[in-house]
Amino acid sequence: MADLLQYIITGITVGLVYSLIALGFTLIWKSSSVANLALGQMVLICSWFTYSMLAQVGMPLWLGFICVVLFALALGWLMERIILRPLIGQPILSLVTVTLGVGFFLEGVVSFVWPQSVAAMPKIFPETPIHIGSAVISQEYVWAAGISLLLFALLTIFFKYHKMGVAMRATADDQQAVQACGIPVTRIFSLSWMLAIVLAAVGGVLMSSIGGITLGLVETGIKAFSVVILGGLDSFLGAMIAGPIIGLAENLGGGYLTALTWPGVKEVIPFIIIIIVMFIKPYGLFGQERIERI
């Protein structure tokens, strides 16, 4: 019973972080219909950058985080400006593969700059574990869930009330109409990339303070795709709900299925979910079904 509670709490908290990273994907997809497959590598590089700022340079926490956010903003802006803007109007195959190439490049940069390949994130959160019922949860999980929820709330408010947020939603709906209204669409693209990478950076810092900085973070980014697929590509709500579902499935499956199958089943459950969703409901729980006309 204690195990069950433990799995559920861990699953939901980790799932919320997945949701956060997935939101970054959905943001870009909705505004510019580019699929960012370099998400995992972006999570990785932002985590390493945080490590550099905090552990190697030795900045205080607040300064470190400002630097990380600035780094993420710069990365997002560069991505959009240099790589994706020349490709506007190209077939989707190019748009998908170009992000694959960027991912490859970023992975190279990571092993170039941080050759140690494994590191522990400096302690950001207090260390004493929390007892909930019979389960013992380290505080990182709780903080991760809390920060994710806070960011969801902020983003919701941003999209609902802020002028730029409304413009972004409008761009997602109809690019040409937005352009006709005098909203600079390319600036919206840049902004959504910058926001998305900041979300990936926050997600990366939260994940790596739980599990350390390893190449596994790339897989975390790829797991965020399963969140996106399950929730529906173009649905913020879907991403928020699907994250905890994936997290739960992963942890419960890891807990109870390992004895039945092979070890490491936890790592592939999100991928198995992807395949199942593809067969049953390819546009996800909340995604809009696309109707194509010739």
Partner: protein
């Protein structure tokens, strides 16, 4: 299709021929003689590289059918190659199946697995398909790593060398003949399939699958057929790779390799005959160049970080993929075409 000055076609047969003129035929035969005389002229280090290039060409030809002609993005090609490689490993190691049969069985096995993971392609495309093939990659590698009774798991598995007529193909030079023979056949097969009814159906599906369906093409069948053929060639490449390396672990088939294959097909030129060859040559020779340059750079500039050697490769390939997509989306094949026409029309280039 442009022809050399003064050459005309007077029958359908000559119009459809891949090799149209006597010069073409002479160049083809010369190239084949040159290719198959290489083992007698160069050392085994370069033969090893050429063998790797040959194997990669076969796999890239498969991916080119799938991605270039049929337009179905697959980021799990290394996974399908792994299926082929391990099928060969199990057949040759545990059951003692002789060479050409284990290769064909590997191809069919990889093709069937490809069809299984290609099933979602009926309803989804683009990004969705990319994700489901990435998922395929991870699931396949996980199964290989953990079904250790069959695949050897993390410890790996040993594959006996190819044995034909009581001759063991152990040296790079002898394997070169088999690998290159299969590679030439694979390219020939790919080039020809693009000209048949199947190939035209693939192209129609790539350009617009709804329109293709309206025209009476059974989209479901042809998409799955594309997955089967593409993954069949991947399986064949995997089988040859298994015999060539002689010892397999799942480390040989990572997601990065899958991305590299996508990069090869893109850099070469999607949906072209020479694309896979040019792309493979470009990427594999670039790899060699990086391997050669990085220790030199390391000793020349000691202040470079120690991750330099490990990071340079991925950085260069990632950059190559991105630059090609941004600057030359039609790939090296387009450049080759431009070169050929400027050469043919010289000195009257209009």
């Amino acid at each position: 299709m442009d022809l050399p000055c003064g050459t005309r076609n007077f029958s359908y047969k000559t119009d459809m021929a891949i090799f149209r003129t006597k010069t073409h035929w002479a160049m083809l035969i010369g190239f084949l003689i040159l290719l198959f005389s290489l083992p007698f002229n160069i050392n085994s280090y370069w033969l090893g590289i050429l063998n790797l290039i040959g194997i990669t060409v076969i796999a890239a030809a498969g991916l080119n059918i799938l991605m270039g002609y049929c337009g179905q993005l697959s980021v799990g090609h290394a996974g399908f190659i792994a299926v082929g490689a391990y099928t060969t490993a199990i057949l040759a190691n545990k059951l003692g199946v002789p060479f050409p049969f284990d290769m064909i069985a590997s191809g069919i096995m990889a093709g069937l697995v490809g069809v299984l993971f290609g099933l979602p392609s009926l309803r989804v495309k683009g990004f969705y398909l990319a994700i489901s093939t990435i998922a395929a990659q991870f699931i396949i590698i996980w199964v290989i790593n953990h079904w250790s009774g069959l695949t050897g798991g993390f410890n790996g598995i040993v594959i006996p060398p190819i044995n034909l007529f009581n001759f063991d193909f152990t040296t790079q030079g002898s394997q070169f003949f088999i690998i290159m023979l299969v590679a030439v056949l694979a390219i020939f097969f790919m080039k020809n399939i693009a000209r048949t009814r199947i190939g035209r159906a693939f192209v129609a599906i790539r350009d617009n699958d709804l329109a293709a369906e309206v025209m009476g093409i059974n989209v479901f069948r042809y998409k799955l057929l594309a997955f089967f053929i593409g993954c069949f060639l991947a399986g064949v490449a995997g089988s040859l790779m298994a015999h060539w390396i002689g010892y397999l672990t799942a480390e040989n088939f990572t997601l990065s390799d899958s991305i590299l294959y996508v990069g090869i097909v893109i850099i070469g030129g999607l949906g072209t005959g020479v694309g896979p060859i040019l792309g493979t040559l470009f990427i594999r020779l670039l790899q060699q160049g990086v391997q050669y340059v990085s220790p030199l750079m390391g000793s020349a500039f000691p202040q470079l970080p120690s991750g330099f050697a490990a990071g340079l490769g991925p950085m260069v390939f990632g950059l190559a993929i991105v630059l090609f997509l941004v600057l030359e989306p039609r790939g090296l094949a387009h450049r080759w075409q431009l070169f050929k026409s400027s050469y043919r029309y010289w000195p009257f280039s209009y």
